[in-house]
Symmetry: C2
Subunit: 218 residues, 2 copies
Amino acid sequence: MARATFNRIPPEKQALVLDVANREFAEHGYHKANINTIASKAGISIGAMYKYFANKEDLFCEALEWGVRFIRDTYEGVEHASNDPFEKIRTMFLKVLDIARERPQALQVYMALLGSNMDDFAQRYANIIEDVGHTYLKHIILQGQQDGYVDKDVDVGALIFFLDNHLMMFAFSQISLYLKIRQETFLEGSVNQERVIDETIRICKRMFGTDRAQGPKT
Amino acid sequence: MARATFNRIPPEKQALVLDVANREFAEHGYHKANINTIASKAGISIGAMYKYFANKEDLFCEALEWGVRFIRDTYEGVEHASNDPFEKIRTMFLKVLDIARERPQALQVYMALLGSNMDDFAQRYANIIEDVGHTYLKHIILQGQQDGYVDKDVDVGALIFFLDNHLMMFAFSQISLYLKIRQETFLEGSVNQERVIDETIRICKRMFGTDRAQGPKT
DNA sequence: ATGTAGAGAGTGAGCAATCGCTCACTAAGG
DNA sequence: CCTTAGTGAGCGATTGCTCACTCTCTACAT
């Protein structure tokens, strides 16, 4: 947790420090990221840095949470975006594009966390972060079942797991060069992200939509 | 590429060095992995290490390719595992469990590669590695369409992208503590991997199976 | 057989650079 | 004059990599 001193400096300066840190950790990974560089890019001395944060890990956690908060805030309200659950899902995918555009570092740090063997971080954050997607998707599907858009005999747990897997890979495909190339391989060059979302929605309807959801039959 | 000297030492010793390197890179990540430690664990001197490999990056690439070769070999032959495309897909998921059991490091290094910003590595390997899953899945779906198991009006590209996303996340869930916890969140405790595969196949049939594929109606 | 010369595999102390972090210090505010 | 924010040179530990060296094996002349 950040030291008391950090909470006393102006919020814009706090944001600047966390933003710079987030970018550095995203670009170089936890171990290669350089605290001295972060301090100098944020316009503060290393001494001040260590007045604000106990150590490198502390700074990393603070920056990570800052990014997660942004992601959570962006998702806010999706469950009321429409009456149609499939449109709500589309909105979630569109929000991912927003996040990737506005704060790709947040996604990058998050993705690196998955791949790393930093088990202590993982245990601390897994539940908090994943809860976001899980809660919204579950809400959307259950409501969809009530309203007759979604088949009632699906295994909801497995379904939203499937969906969230795709949502995560979609998010990561926006920020990882490797996954971008992979996307091109699979979709054979045409990587208009809105079209990927269209196809996703079509597949979803096919997968768990009732006749009501289909609209004019394809 | 490894130096000529490396190719002249006994194959078992080559394998040992690459295996140790793979484990170290998997456990600590590229930057934190220590070449001196790798050398000593493999029972060779640092001097010898640098007679075998030009530098750290070279060793990393060799170890990565060694792991990828193992993954590719394990997939070998899945497209003839059954007549039913859904059983072929099940076989692919089961193979992932084999890989995760026998050589988790290979998957770990691969996963870390995605999350890192090592763009040069990414560009070099993305096509080679992804080609494996892509080729098999495409073959399975097209053959399935010919045999009447798979709907003919699906967008094959989008479909196998969707499928491979799930396959990747499934693989990563076997080796990342974070993703294991996430899986438990979504599937509410019951994380029998064979059951996850069963559900996956059910969802696949619903998603793109014809009546023939369904078997006795659910 | 024996001596010898050369190639090249293998060694490991240690150089050079990096980086997390400290601490003795100054400056400002009350 | 005390408290608190801020500074930055530099310490100590780590680590990628080098290089001067030894050891082993083969080839060939004696």
